[in-house]
Assembly symmetry: C2
Homo-oligomer: 728 residues x 2
C-alpha cells in the first residue's frame, strides 16, 4: 500500500454515494441526507440505476456516467455487488472509498474472499479504502455516515474500530461540552488503519487530541514507528479492548481479527507514548482535558477546598495517582495564615473551611498564584526559587467545593473562570461535590471548558494524564533511533539452523546454542562437540581444565541418570578416557535407539570461587503483532515461583531501554550490591540483553529463547543453561 | 461508656432544641424548621431565654422549665456555654444529645479541655452524645440537622465523620433514585462512634445497607468484634480517607485525630467483612445495588449486548473484576443458534448484533433464563446439572445496549423491568452506552431500581461487590472465635522484661530472646548465658555439641570483629577454654567501657545436613488503632529487597488465618515443594505464627519483633536471629 496524503477524505471536492436511495428507511438515504444536512459545499452525486433524483440531487446510474472527477465514493450497496462497483470506481479514478456495507471478513467464508478481492483491486488502482463494515466518515466539512445525529464540532478526533461503539460514544458526547474534528469508523480495516489516519491528523490544525477505540492493531511495526512520532506532537488516547480471555474471544468472533496479547499492547503503548484509557469514561475525560486545558510545566499542584473531608479525599486521590503537592514559599504561607480563619489549613491541601465565601476562594487563588498586586511577582518568585528550591508556585490547580450555608457555588464558578483567564498556562480543574445545589456552577464551568467533576478522584485521574503525557512527549522518536548492530557471522548461524531443520528438530542442542552465543559474543561456558576419543584428547586442550563431558543426544533428556555426564576432568588423558567411558555407559543404559551425536566437552565454571554470584533468567517470546518481547529477572530453579521479571519489546531496543528494563526487577537492587556487597557487572548483563535482542531480530525463525540461569559475577557473566527453539 | 439501645435517637418522643432561634439566618432556626418540616410527630421544645415562641412552638428559657420528659436535646449554642447547658440536661435526665456546636477538639487548645469535660459529664450521667462539631441527625421521623435540603427517604443508612462531606453527598444523592433511612454526622465522636450506630442499625428493619465516610476509627478492638457481626446481617460499605501521607496530614490537622496506618484499615475491613469504597462514586453505586438488587447465588453471570465492541469492553471489565461467565447448556445454545442471526455470538458474552429489536432482547433473556414456556424448566435444568456440571443458568445479568437504527432503548428498558420481575432472585444491571438517545430508557430503569450505567465498567464493579459481599457473609463471626491459648509461664517473661527495663534497655539480648521463645515453645537454637569458665564447662553439656560461644554485651555490636565469637566447640574442655579466650580478646579489642554480661553458649545447627532449607522472615509491628500486625514472607539477607511479605492483624488470629496469611506469600509455593523437592514442615511455621501472635498479645509492651531468618526444614523449623524491642 502506497503511503499517501489522505486530505481528500477530510476535504473532498466531490462525493458519490453508491447505493443512494429515496427510501427513508434505507441507509443509502440516511447517508445522502447526512451529507446534505452537514452543509457539505462540494459536489454530491447519488448513484442509483433506478432513480432520477434523490433529496434534490440529480441521480446517476453508475459512477461512470458522472462526467466530472469524483474524490470519494461512499458504498452502501449489498456486499455481493461491491466488487463490481469498485471496478467501476477504479475505472473512474476515484481516490478514496468509504465502504459502509457489511458482509465481508466479519462473517467468515465467502466474506473473507470478498474482502481480499476488494483490497486487491483498490491496491492495484491506488484507491484507499475505509472499511468495509463501518459506520462511515465524518469530518468538519461533511458527514458521510448513517448515524442518527450530528455530533458537535470541536478539536477532538475520534477513531473507532467498532461502529456500534462509535454510535454509543457519539450519542454520549451530546451531553458533554466537547466536539469533534472528525469521527472515523475503521470497520474491518481492509486497507486504511488507525496508523494511516493518525499520520494525517498529526499535522491537522483542527485536531488537538486523538481518541481511539481499538480491538487490535494489524500493522505492529508501522504502529510503533509512526505513533511514536505523532505523540510527540499531540496526545493519542486509546481504549484497547479484548484484554481478557473472554474479551479476546468476543473480539475475534466479532471482527475475525487475531487479538495480540495484552502485555504487548501495554509495552507498545508505553514505547510510543500512547495514553491508555481503561474505560470509555476515561477516554472522554482524558480527551476533554487535553482539548481544553494546558499542559502543566511540572508535577506540582495545589488543592483548595472549603472542607476538611473533601480535601482529604482529594489528597488521597492525588497521592494515589502520583501527583505532587507544591510547597508554598514562606511569604505565601504568611499571607494565608494572616488572612484565613484560625481553623484553616494553610498547607497544601489548603482548607479555607466551611464558611468560605467566593471572596475567600478568590483570596486563596490570588495569593497562591501571586495574582495580587501587593506581591511583586518577579522579585519574590525569583528569590524564592534560589533560596528555597523545594518551594514553588503550583503548576496546576484543583479546586474543591462542598455546598455549605455560605458557599454560593455559581459565584465560585465565575471566579474560577475569571482567575483561569489570568493564568492561562496553569491547568485548572474543579470538583463540586453535590447535585442540585452545585448544578448551575458545575454547568458554568464545563460550558467554559474547565472540567468540573462530581468527585475529586476524577480530577486526580485527568491531571495525572496531563503529567504523564508531558513525560511521554520527552521520549526520543523511535524513527530517529539507529540501533548499533554488533558485527556477527550470520551465515554460520543460518547454517546451524539449516542443520537443525535437516535433523527434523526445532530445539537446538547445547553445543549449537553455545556456538550461536559465541558468534553473538554472549558469554557462555566454552564448549565443543567431539566425535572420537582422539578428538576428545586434542580439543580438550582448547577448552582448558577442569572440564565437563556430556553425551549429546536429543533422545537422552536426563543425561546423568544414564551415566552420560562426567565432571572435573583434569587433563587430556582423562578427557580421552571420559569419551570411551560415557559411550559404554550410554549404550548400556540409554534408550535403545538413541541417536548419539558425540560428546560435548565444556568448560567448568568454578563459581564457588567467585566473591558474589546472582542467578538471572533471560528469555524471549513472540507477540504476533509487535514481534519479539525480551524478558529479564530473578533466575534459578525457583524463577517461575518468584515471578520477578520485566518485559520489553525488542523493536528499537536501546541500551537505555535495557537499563530501564533491568531496573524494573527486584534483583536489580541486589546486582547493584546491598549490605556492603560488591556490585555485579551490570554492564555485562546489559550487553547480553542487547545482543539477545539483535539475535532474535536477526533471525525471525527463533520462536522462543530461554537462559536460566545467566550467572552474574562481580566481573562478567555466563549463560549457563540455554534453550533455543526455531520454527519447524 | 455504657452500651445502650440508641432507639431514642431514631424515634424520640420529645426533642428540645437548645439555642433555637427566630432569626432565619441562625442555625438554631434551621434546626427547628427542619424538625417541623420533616413532619416530626413528637413534642418539640425550643429553648431560648429571650423568646416566647419560635415557628409556632412555645419557647422555654431552659430545659429545666419543661415539665414533661425530654428524650433528645439538640445543642446549637456557642461552645463556651455548652458545658453549663449539658449540666442542666443531666439534671433533666435527657437521654441523648446532638451537639451541633463547633469549637471543641478540632480547634485545639481550650477546645480539647471543653470536649473532655462534655464527655465526662455525659458519661457520669448516662447521656449519650452525638458530636460535637456535626451537622446533626436525620432519621425517618425527624430531621435535626441544619442541612438546606431534605434528602429522599429510603433504605440506605449513611454515617459521615465529616459534616461537609455529608452535605455534599446528600446534595449529590438528590439526583439519584435511592433514599436514606438515616443520615448521621459523627463530628468529633466525643462519645458515640460509628460502631455504636452500626450496632443499632444491624437490627433496624428500615435499613438494608449502611454507608459510611470515615477519617479514623478510635475504638479498634470494638470495631473488629462488633462490625464483624453486623456484616453477616447486612452490608457495610466504608469510604475511609486519609490514606496518603498528605491525606493523613490533612485528616489530623482537621479532626485532631491520629490516623492509623492504611494497611491496618485494609486488614481490619477484610477481617470484618466491610466493603471498602475507593471513591464517593463507589460508595453510592455500591449502596444503590445493595439497596435494590438481590445477592447472586453464585459468581456466574451473563452479558447480553447488541454490538460486538461494547460486549468486548464489558467482558474485559468483568474479567478485570474476577466475575465469571456462565457456560450455557447445550439446549440453550441450540435454541440461540437456531433463532439468532448467523453473525450473532451465542456464547457468553452473547452478541445479538446491531439490528436487534427489543423482541430479540426478549428472546435472548427468555431463553437464557428459561422463561419460555417451550422449556420444561425443572426437567431440563436438573438433567443439565447432572450431565454437565460446568454448565448452568447464569446467576446474574448485565444487559448492554448501544443505540443503533432499530434499537428502541426505552422499549428494551421496559422489557428488562418486566423480565426482572419474573426472576427476582437474579441481580440485574444495565449499561446503555449513549446520551440523548438512551436517556429515557436509562431513567426508566433507574427509577425502577435497576441500576443502568453509561459504561459497562461500572456494571462490573458493582456486581463484583455483590459477589464479594456474599463471600464476606460466610465468614465466621469474630465474637464466636475462641483462640486456644498455649500454656506458658508468663511470670518468667515478665521477670525478663523487668530485668531489661532495670538495665535501661529496650532491645533484648540474644539469650533473653531465646529464653522467651523457649517459654512460648517457638523452636530456636538452645542457648544459655554463662558467667565463668567453670559454668561454661558445666552448662555446655546441657546444650550439646558442637556449639558456638559468643560474648554478651549490648555495647558490642560486631562480635566477630573483636574476637567475641568462637565456632565449632566440640567438648566441655573446649567450652571452658573458649570462655577465657573470648574474655581476653574482648577486653583487648572491644570498646573500652563495654558492659560484659558473660558468654552465650548456643547450639550449632548443621543445616547443611538438611535435605532442604528455606529462609523465612517473621515479624510484628503495631498499629495504634488495631493493635499488633504479624508479618511473614521470604527471609534472608535480601528480605528487604525481595519484599515478599504478607500481613495480618493478630486480633482473633486463628490457625486458618495463619495458613491463609502464609499462602499469600510467594515462598509458600516453595515450602510446599516444587520440582520434586520434599515439602517443608509448614505446620511448624504455622505454629510459630500462632505462638508469636499469642506472645505479642500477652505482652502489649512488645512494640516490635523480628525473626530473620526462621529456617524452615523438612521437619521442624528454627528461629535463628531474633530481635525483640519493648516499650522503654
Amino acid at each position: 500500500m502506497a503511503e499517501s496524503d489522505l486530505g481528500y477524505f477530510f476535504n473532498p471536492d466531490s462525493i458519490a454515494v453508491i447505493g443512494a436511495s429515496a427510501n427513508e428507511t434505507k441507509i443509502g438515504n440516511s447517508v445522502v441526507k447526512n451529507i446534505k444536512n452537514s452543509g457539505y459545499k462540494g459536489k454530491l452525486y447519488p448513484i442509483n440505476p433506478s432513480a432520477s433524483e434523490i433529496l434534490g440531487y440529480k441521480c446517476y446510474k453508475s459512477v461512470l456516467d458522472v462526467k466530472e472527477d469524483i474524490d470519494i465514493g461512499v458504498i452502501v450497496i449489498p456486499a455481493k455487488y461491491v466488487v463490481n462497483v469498485v471496478k467501476e470506481c477504479a475505472q473512474k479514478k476515484i481516490k478514496g472509498l468509504i465502504v459502509i456495507t457489511a458482509g465481508f471478513k466479519e462473517v467468515g467464508g465467502d466474506g473473507v474472499e470478498r474482502e481480499l478481492e476488494l483490497a486487491k483491486i483498490c491496491s492495484e488502482n491506488n484507491i484507499r479504502v475505509l472499511g468495509p463494515n463501518c459506520l462511515g466518515f465524518m469530518g468538519l466539512n461533511y458527514n458521510a455516515t448513517f448515524a442518527a445525529d450530528q455530533p458537535k464540532k470541536g478539536n477532538i478526533a475520534i477513531i473507532s474500530q467498532s461502529g456500534a461503539m462509535l454510535t454509543g460514544m457519539l450519542d454520549y458526547s451530546m451531553g458533554r461540552t466537547f466536539g469533534f474534528s472528525c469521527c472515523i469508523s475503521l470497520g474491518n480495516k481492509a486497507d486504511l488503519t488507525l496508523v494511516d489516519f493518525l499520520k494525517y491528523l498529526a499535522d491537522d490544525d483542527n485536531t488537538k487530541v486523538i481518541l481511539a477505540y481499538l480491538e487490535n492493531v494489524i500493522d505492529g511495526d508501522r504502529f510503533l514507528e509512526v505513533v511514536s512520532e505523532i505523540t510527540r506532537e499531540k496526545p493519542v488516547v486509546i481504549l484497547k479492548s479484548g484484554i481478557s480471555e473472554q474479551g479476546a474471544k468476543a473480539a475475534s468472533s466479532h471482527t475475525g481479527a487475531l487479538a495480540g496479547s495484552d502485555r504487548a499492547y501495554d509495552l507498545s503503548f508505553e514505547k510510543t507514548g500512547v495514553i491508555r484509557a481503561k474505560t470509555i469514561e476515561d477516554l472522554f475525560d482524558f480527551g476533554e482535558i487535553f482539548a481544553f486545558q494546558p499542559l502543566p510545566k511540572k508535577n506540582s499542584f495545589v488543592i483548595i477546598s472549603n472542607a476538611g473531608g473533601p480535601g482529604i479525599v482529594a489528597a488521597d486521590a492525588f497521592s494515589r495517582e502520583g501527583l505532587k503537592f507544591a510547597k508554598f514559599p514562606e511569604d505565601i504561607l504568611h499571607k494565608l495564615r494572616k488572612n484565613l480563619p484560625a481553623e484553616a489549613s494553610i498547607f497544601n491541601p489548603v482548607d479555607i473551611v466551611g464558611d468560605a465565601t467566593p471572596e475567600r476562594y478568590r483570596f486563596a487563588l490570588n495569593t497562591i498564584f501571586r495574582l495580587d498586586s501587593n506581591f511583586d511577582k518577579n522579585t519574590i518568585s525569583k528569590s524564592t526559587k534560589e533560596d528555597m528550591p523545594n518551594q514553588e508556585t503550583p503548576n496546576g490547580c484543583c479546586l474543591i467545593l462542598a455546598p455549605q450555608a455560605l458557599t454560593r457555588p455559581t459565584d465560585v464558578a465565575s471566579l474560577v473562570l475569571e482567575t483561569s483567564k489570568k493564568i492561562p498556562d496553569i491547568p485548572m480543574v474543579c470538583s463540586f461535590i453535590g447535585g442540585k445545589n452545585i448544578a448551575e456552577g458545575q454547568k458554568l464551568l464545563n460550558d467554559n471548558h474547565i472540567p468540573c467533576y462530581y468527585f475529586p478522584s476524577r480530577a486526580a485521574q485527568t491531571l495525572k494524564v496531563l503529567v504523564k503525557y508531558c513525560e511521554n512527549k520527552k521520549r526520543q522518536s523511535l524513527k530517529s533511533i539507529n540501533i548499533k548492530k554488533f558485527n556477527v557471522n550470520k551465515n554460520r548461524v543460518n547454517e546451524i539452523f539449516e542443520e537443525v531443520r535437516e535433523d527434523n528438530r526445532s530445539v537446538l542442542l547445547s553445543y549449537e546454542n553455545n556456538e550461536i552465543f559465541q558468534i553473538y559474543g554472549i558469554p557462555s561456558p566454552k564448549s565443543k562437540i567431539v566425535r572420537s576419543p582422539i578428538q576428545a584428547f586434542d580439543i580438550s586442550n582448547d577448552i582448558g581444565f577442569p572440564l565437563v563431558a556430556k553425551v549429546v543426544s536429543p533422545q537422552i533428556l536426563h543425561k546423568t541418570d544414564v551415566g552420560g555426564v562426567l565432571l572435573n576432568i583434569l587433563d587430556q588423558k582423562q578427557a580421552r578416557e571420559a569419551y570411551t567411558q560415557i559411550m559404554i555407559k550410554v549404550k548400556k543404559f540409554g534408550p535403545r535407539n538413541a541417536k548419539i551425536y558425540g560428546i560435548e566437552i565444556q568448560e567448568m565454571i568454578d563459581f564457588k570461587a567467585q566473591p558474589k554470584v546472582s542467578e538471572l533468567i533471560l528469555g524471549m517470546s513472540k507477540d504476533p503483532t509487535f514481534g519479539p518481547m525480551i524478558m529479564v529477572g530473578t533466575g534459578g530453579i525457583y524463577a517461575n515461583f518468584i515471578k520477578d521479571v520485566a518485559f520489553s519489546l525488542t523493536y528499537k531496543f536501546t541500551r537505555e531501554d535495557a537499563v530501564n528494563l533491568l531496573s524494573q526487577t527486584k534483583i536489580f537492587a541486589l546486582l547493584q550490591g546491598v549490605r556492603g556487597e560488591p556490585p555485579s557487572d551490570i554492564d555485562a548483563v546489559i550487553d547480553v540483553l542487547l545482543k539477545l535482542s539483535q539475535l532474535v531480530n536477526d533471525f525471525p525463525e527463533i520462536v522462543e529463547l530461554d537462559i536460566n540461569p545467566l550467572l552474574s559475577f562481580v566481573k562478567e557473566c555466563s549463560a549457563v543453561d540455554i534453550k533455543i527453539t526455531i520454527k519447524s
